[in-house]
């Protein structure tokens, strides 16, 4: 069973789809991203990877799960929207200009 099918089964078994309007899903994605970020508060990446790898796994999964739910609500194909966005980023960040530097596209 695909990840998307598992996620949908999870929410449909609980009859939760009725709560999942897109505005509240956007809030949820943002909150889960904050819980992930919270692991890194006052710490370095190295400290967190050493001590909290299982927590990272869980919080990152939560971000993904809510993101998949929103994609499903809106009939987006995950691989397709990633691929389309990478194409746009390719145009915004030409390899020759952005190689090895982290400037924003409007500063290139």
């Amino acid at each position: 069973m695909s990840s998307m099918e598992k996620i949908n089964r999870f929410r449909d078994e609980r009859d939760w789809r009725k709560f999942h309007n897109e505005k509240d899903l956007a809030i949820s994605i943002s909150l889960e991203a904050s819980e992930l970020l919270e692991l890194f508060q006052w710490k370095t990446s190295e400290e967190v990877k050493k001590n909290s790898i299982e927590r990272i796994k869980e919080e990152l999964a939560d971000v993904l799960i809510y993101s998949y739910m929103m994609a499903d609500n809106l009939d987006f194909d995950i691989d397709e929207i990633i691929s389309e966005k990478l194409k746009k980023n390719n145009n915004k960040y030409p390899i020759e200009l952005s190689k090895g530097n982290n400037k924003k596209y409007n500063e290139l």
Copy 2:
């Protein structure tokens, strides 16, 4: 090519992996989630779906792309961490208790 391979090619062509420590990636995931949420600010889900579906697609893709990068940095398998988290949620939210209500697990 899988989404993960496309994403890694994108950042490796630009030699960007050196910037992608996990703390900054966690910040990026949170920021992209905020850009997604911003589309819904002062609006209903319906208004946003009608007027900004392409923008949702792009911002959601950005959340996914940075999430995939963090997963790759840490050698997580996307489908595996989703599947494991759903199992945990299954235990926290038993179907019979949570069906049709949106209470948090500690309020069930």
Copy 3:
């Protein structure tokens, strides 16, 4: 004693200022804002005001406390930066154009 003095006393008594670099304070402000937002997840403003007014008070205070800490770190005067920003917003949102509508300044 002013709010700023109370906040500084709190952190100085604990010798915490050494942890409070501005990047981590920016993370903290964002996390506290998320905890405030979390109260509204899946709910309407009315439900939350009715049931969680004390929680709103606490989470909003946390946003303010970390914001004051950052201001103090950078020698900003709270009233002054608010006043300057309102002047900028006044120019971005002229009363005659923005009265009663919630368009962003670049859509006016």
Copy 4:
């Protein structure tokens, strides 16, 4: 005129209070906190303080302005909620246990 009076005058002149339900204000506070955090993305505190001090001032002011709006909506007194929260934090983080360490209260 106090900061609160200036902020209220700004929104009342534009007849914006009708948009400012607390759920959307909570979203706005979170978004402004993200814009502040964005300044620090991929950078150290030192780099940002050197190059973007005016931007920090503006984004921090935005966080404060929306926070003040929510306080006003709910008839909270800013100094009072800060003072009450600091008292709670005093109990959660006794000086003798937390001095010089950044552990969370449930890890003390």
